[in-house]
């Protein structure tokens, strides 16, 4: 294995990554390879090990086992500071100092890097021009998040880590953050992003790893992952009696079924054929229909299909 060679095409990679905390395995043997120039997403519910994985890649948490390589370098082998010069990092729960202004905060972060963008330019990049002299404590949640992005972008990084960049933001603030990330991508930057929002993953990511309980359970482009369901539509239903999964799955137009939250999730290739057949099956089983919805298949359905749980289920 030649790190420098890989460093040209691979932005970050880990093999057999393991991290244990007392009583819990946060990451249980994870393999990832992130290519230069792509936006790679880690999609999974809270507690899936996304943050632990990212913080290991960022060199903030040492792994218990496994190999980690970022921009062709392993943490702790050469001068880590040289590697940090090339990264931009946004952590999940950083509260920047309330008493400082936007400009003062960005200036401080700028001073840590030998190379990077001018302070004013970065502030403009995240559209905080009008707030440049406002105290951080007075900013809205979305503005604080964009300031965190500015602190990550100020080094003109090759690789940017974003850990749940839009959690807790309203839809407009979220789109604002996405715009900033997309601008960075257009400049050729690589992004590693964690999220539990499938819309965010679908919108921003070229490729995704779906993780659950510290393991990778699926990998691919958002389109490929959705296509792996072998279905365009998802039919979710709840019935007042017992149903047989095998019989449901064999109905015309149906690709497969799985139980979820006391109801059923039916993956459907052809709604026109499947819907009457499903209703007839319910009738025959003596299970009256209580609830029925259909929607276009999404990444959420991929996760539900793989785990039987939703991304935001407890």
């Amino acid at each position: 294995m030649n790190g420098t060679e890989n460093g040209r095409t691979v932005a970050a990679r880990c093999v057999g990554l393991v991290k244990r905390y007392p009583g819990v395995v946060a990451v249980g043997g994870l393999d990832l390879e992130v290519r230069r120039g792509e936006c790679f997403g880690l999609l999974g519910p809270n507690g899936a090990g996304k943050t632990t994985t990212v913080e290991i890649l960022e060199g903030l948490t040492p792994p218990d086992d496994g190999v980690v390589e970022v921009l062709g370098q392993r943490w702790g082998t050469r001068d880590d500071r040289l590697l940090r010069e090339r990264l931009g990092i946004q952590l999940q729960e950083t509260k920047l100092a309330d008493k400082l202004t936007v400009t003062e905060t960005v200036r401080l972060f700028r001073s840590f890097y030998r190379q990077g963008r001018p302070v004013d330019e970065v502030i403009a990049l995240v559209s905080l021009d009008e707030k440049r002299n406002a105290r951080v404590g007075k900013l809205s949640g979305g503005q604080k998040q964009r300031l965190a992005l500015a602190c990550a972008l100020v080094s003109a990084p090759e690789l940017m880590f974003l850990d749940e960049p839009t959690t807790g933001l309203d839809p407009q603030a979220r789109r604002h953050v996405w715009d900033v990330v997309e601008t960075f991508r257009q400049g050729g930057g690589t992004v590693i992003l964690t999220t539990h929002y499938m819309e965010e993953a679908a919108r921003l990511c070229d490729r995704l790893a779906i993780v659950d309980h510290g393991r990778r359970i699926a990998l691919g482009t958002p389109a490929n992952l959705v296509a792996s369901l072998d279905a365009d539509q998802i039919l979710e239903l709840r019935a007042g009696g017992e149903l047989d999964a095998g019989r449901l799955g064999a109905l015309p137009g149906v690709a497969g079924v799985s139980a979820r939250n006391g109801g059923w999730m039916v993956r459907v290739r052809d709604v026109g054929a499947a819907l009457p057949a499903v209703l007839a099956e319910l009738e025959q089983a003596g299970a009256p229909l209580e609830q029925l919805t259909t929607h276009q298949a999404t990444l959420e359905d991929v996760f539900v299909h793989l785990t039987g749980r939703g991304l935001r289920d407890a």
Partner: protein, 354 residues
């Protein structure tokens, strides 16, 4: 996107930026400003007034028999009041009188007197001597020796002269340790330390910036207390002011390093407060800020002198008295430098960035 630019894009050297934001954050915290500047001055004012020189000593004496009051009338250092026996004893018990004189009932001439006073109070003992002297003369005692009184007003030996250097020491300890310990633990709980650790920032820079911002403020703090003591109480520094500054800098840095050490691993404000109090309380009591540690048994003095606050107080008092800095206070400066260097080294090694 534009090319990356060198020269830190409008920012200064990281150490300068870190120090700058420390100073800005402090200035934007009105409560902190009060504790650092207002509190020591108010404390000096209150203690200076409470323990001010009483002027010519005047003892408050209660007499039960008005005839005795007449006999004492000639003594100008006595403030004599005739009163009922019960009221006089109560006033003595409450400290409003220093001494009560009564005559034993009977026919003896001159009568036999009883002096009631609290021998643990210096005023009581002094009043006893003054009353005895006045009564003896009133009944005809002739003095054998001639003497002249020549009062000395030594401004350097009042309580406030003792107190002001002690308050400077206390303030250096308090603002150094609390100011730094708190802001570091707050930064840690907010995840800011971790965020800094994710940058190429040199980690010693972060810790040194605290020391540098302290330097800036301690000059102002010391100037505030020294200036106040001089203006209001006429407390003067007989040694060079630069020596005061030098001690304040060495002491302030030493306490800053101790503050860093205490905050090096704490994850909560409660934890860091506990450690601060544990370290500071013994020094409040032992280090001679409010009263001389020479009141403790002599066997303890060498250990007490190893405490950093004792070293600051002793060195400052020496300069206030006009002694030479290096010649007379070298051991104190060495103690301070030792605490500072060892604390900083351990803090840097043990510092928890997450």
């Amino acid at each position: 996107m534009p090319e990356p630019t060198a020269s830190r894009g409008g920012a200064l050297h990281p150490l300068a930026e870190l120090t700058r934001v420390r100073v800005l954050e402090f200035l934007r915290e009105p409560e902190a400003l009060f504790w650092v500047f207002g509190f020591p001055v108010l404390l000096a004012l209150a203690l200076g007034i409470a323990f001010r020189d009483p002027g010519a000593a005047s003892y408050r004496v209660g007499v039960v028999d008005p005839a005795i009051a007449d006999r004492l009338a000639g003594a100008d250092d006595l403030n004599v009041t005739a009163m009922e026996r019960g009221a006089a004893l109560e006033a003595l018990g409450r400290g409003r009188l220093d001494l009560v004189v009564e005559a034993v009932p009977g026919d003896a001439a001159p009568p036999e007197f009883v002096f009631r006073f609290d021998p643990t109070r210096p005023e009581g003992r002094a009043a006893r001597l003054a009353v005895d002297d006045a009564l003896q003369r009133a009944y005809g005692r002739q003095d054998l020796l001639e003497h002249r009184d020549q009062p000395v007003a030594d401004r350097g030996s009042r309580y406030i002269d003792f107190l002001i250097p002690g308050l400077i020491g206390l303030n250096l300890m308090g603002s150094g340790m609390w100011g730094i310990g708190f802001s570091i633990v707050v930064a840690r709980t907010r995840g800011l330390l971790k965020r800094f650790a994710a940058t190429p920032m040199r980690r010693p820079h972060y810790l040194v910036s605290y020391a540098l911002s302290r330097l800036l403020f301690l000059v102002l703090e010391v100037a505030a207390i020294v200036g106040f003591g001089w203006l209001i109480f006429g407390v003067s520094v007989r040694g060079p002011l630069l020596a005061v500054l030098a001690i304040a800098i060495v002491g302030g840095l030493s306490f800053a390093a101790l503050g860093l050490l205490v905050a090096a691993r704490s994850r909560t404000i409660e934890a860091v407060s506990g450690w601060m109090n544990l370290l500071q309380l013994p020094m409040w009591l032992l280090s001679g800020s409010f009263f001389s540690y020479e009141r403790f048994p002599e066997a303890f003095w060498p250990a007490i002198r190893l405490l950093p606050l004792t070293a600051v107080n002793d060195a400052l008092r020496a300069v206030f008295r006009g002694e030479a800095l290096i010649a007379d206070s070298l051991p104190e400066l060495i103690v301070l430098a030792g605490w500072g260097l060892v604390s900083f080294a351990i803090a840097l090694r043990r510092f928890r960035w997450h």
